[in-house]
Amino acid sequence: MIGVGKIKQYTNVLDKPLSKGKQEVSLSAFAFLFSEMVQYNQTQVDNIAELERRLEDAGYAVGARVLELLCHREKGNRRETRLLGILSFVHSTVWKVLFGKALEIGCGGTLVRRVLMEESDRCQVADSLEKGTEHEDEYMISEKELLVNRFISIPKDMGTFNCGAFVAGIVRGVLDSAGFPAVVTAHFVPVEGQLRPRTTILIKFAEEVLRREARLG
């Protein structure tokens, strides 16, 4: 038989290394799915805050699963227990897996290969907190253009609504499941000289997290 012996045989399925997962997903397929998700949720709510909350809840479920998967796949079944550790886990590992790969996208019948990761700005860590956040329990992840917002124009009458609420939900899902309860929100931040505002994801940790951090030193 051709190919026999090339693949290492594992007697026990549990000995098999966990697959890396498929790294490429069609951006169009994702965009349409996300668009439908927003449209469906819109039919279920009667105000914008409620819509934001529903998107966040959808993201939360993703975040909880992503944490489980990535701790197993990338970190050898360990998870971060320190504040800065979990934050860098979010903005490096989680971000890379969710948004950071070259995607195969189709537009108008031609396949174009594009790298989608904006050189994602680091989330601000302890001593380099961005101006405007005076609170030590607040951290920010800021991105020029969030993948979920790539094709979305918010109508004027919806005010400050941001579909990044979904991504905020993912972040909250990861943090909460890792034992760092936090309130996570997505905001548009206008940039001078730029037509489009950036999206900033604001993380505000619960008091108990900071108390625990202080105790751990």
């Binding site: 537009c107 094709f151 918010i154």
Partner: protein, 141 residues
Amino acid sequence: MAAIYSLYIINKSGGLIFYKDYGSAGRMDTNDSLRLASLWHSMHAISQQLSPVAGCSGIELLEADTFDLHCFQSLTGTKIFVVSEPGTLYMEALLKHIYELYTDYVLKNPFYEMEMPIRCELFDINLSQAIQKDRVALLGR
């Protein structure tokens, strides 16, 4: 030199869902543009019926003394057409590109209602960039 006079997008029932004019020539008020859009829709449909060629998909180019009208019809019946200076080249490519922008920034936008007028900021931004680029390319040729 304004190569393109105006751009129209009409939905499958002939309603104008997007109109933009570039430059001063051929400027029209809202009623006129609506009328022209539905007129073109009907003419396009009639031309399909009258054509001596079997399987004709309708008029693609209308050449007049003072303008050219290039039309692109998508599979779903949405039509995009530009009115340009006579003899302007590479309009098919531009129309294809505009169609790409339409599929990306209009159809993937959850706040856009099908067959309704297009009010999407991202579409406007990318469209004006495309037209700008096209103009620069034309000047270079």
